[in-house]
């Protein structure tokens, strides 16, 4: 069973002459343990693909399946539960709640899902610690730097029993070293039953993925073949 399947997914915004095809007949399968990056220029449909994969928006055409669940056949309540329980989102604007501390922001999805307060808080602290934010647990979002807010958002996305991590330009506000720490964590999280999709225009971010898919005008036009392994690099001509 794949972690995520998009079959013939199209998305049209607007009507008549103002119609925009954001996605055109996209087929994409992500296996458990796999991290896929979707690269493309601005306006190519990356964010649309991610919100549809995360069942935050409905496709105009086609089918999305997360794990065993064909999203279109779920009730409203089932869909909400899927989003809360199985999917971790990292969006460009972070979406942290201003009235909650870092730890509360991270533990909230678990508590909404019925995990006891103390256990949820412990899980949140572990996730924050892995991102080097242990000493920021009690701070509110407006007491954090942009980069710290971003890492709290990542911690919230990976906490608990998520099966699908979806990230939209997850290291946009971070310098290279912190961006790398974020991708390392996303990469580590995507193993076993957990899969991930990162959309980005940044090749350095994308290069953390097992597979890079190229999007252009809403279509998947190409993808990288799986890495050949480091030997091919070390045999390269040193005087290059």
């Amino acid at each position: 069973m794949s972690a995520l399947t998009l079959t013939g997914v199209s998305k049209v915004y607007g009507k008549g002459a103002g119609q925009v095809y954001a996605l055109r007949a996209v087929d994409l399968t992500v296996e458990p343990g796999e991290l896929v990056a979707v690269m493309g220029p601005s306006g190519s449909g990356k964010s649309t693909l991610l919100t549809i994969a995360g069942s935050l928006e409905e496709p105009t055409d086609g089918e999305v399946t997360v794990g065993e669940s064909p999203v279109s056949r779920l009730s409203r309540g089932e869909r909400a539960a899927l989003r809360r329980r199985a999917i971790g989102y990292v969006f460009q604007d972070f979406n942290l709640l201003a009235g909650l501390t870092s730890a509360e922001n991270v533990s909230l999805p678990l508590e909404l899902d019925g995990v006891a307060g103390r256990a949820a808080r412990a899980a949140a602290l572990v996730a924050l610690d892995r991102l080097g934010l242990a000493d920021r647990a009690g701070r509110f979002p407006d007491e954090l730097s942009g980069g710290e807010r971003q890492r709290v958002a990542i911690a919230r996305a990976v906490v608990g029993e998520r099966r699908l991590i979806l990230a939209d330009e997850p290291s946009g506000a971070l310098d290279s070293v912190n961006g790398e720490a974020v991708m390392r964590l996303v990469r580590e999280t995507c193993q076993g039953a957990v899969a991930g999709v990162v959309v980005t225009h940044d090749a350095q971010l994308a290069s953390w993925a097992d597979r890079v898919v190229f999007l252009r005008d809403g279509r998947i036009i190409d993808q990288t073949t799986p890495a050949r392994g480091p030997e091919s690099l070390l045999d390269a001509d040193p005087a290059r």
Binding site: M39, P41, Q204, W208, V212, F214, D222, L233, L234
Partner: protein, 195 residues
Amino acid sequence: MSVRHALLALLSEGPKYGLQLRDEFEARTGEVWPLNVGQVYTTLQRLERDGLIESDGEDEVGPQKSFRVTVDGAAELDTWLRTPPDLSAPPRDELVIKVLVAIRVPGVEVRDVIQTHRRHAVELMQEWTRVKRDAGPDELSLALVIDAELFRLDSVVRWLDTADARLRRAGTVPASGPPSALPDPGPVRAVEVRR
């Protein structure tokens, strides 16, 4: 990469033998630049001839011979460390030429050519990132070497992205269908790219 100055740097820490120098060179560059022992001995002979290092015996260069840096050698190393490398762009970048030629060759979709090179660069970046990911936290030299490769390849991808967008804006590459008009791309020098 100057083997000559790398050896001077290693000798500035204290006297060393040839084989030891080779092993340390490879370790410090994250084993990304393999060096054969013949290369090490030839370089050591030249450094000694130029008075930048010295050895004890009169023997042939070999495993038993130990070298140390001279005052001139230390000065040479210091000068080298502070001399900027040649960062000016090569006059003709092969990738730039290929894209410029692709615009003019009938029956060739320039955006396909661009995508082929983009995919290749990203695949290389994936391989380097994998090496970095598997490296231990103490392998600092390796991480630095890989970062440099990643930034170089990243700039190639960004140039390709920019070329793609510029060609599209110029109407050379329509959103769908074959290219229509092929405007003069202008002289090679007008395109700036660094590798």
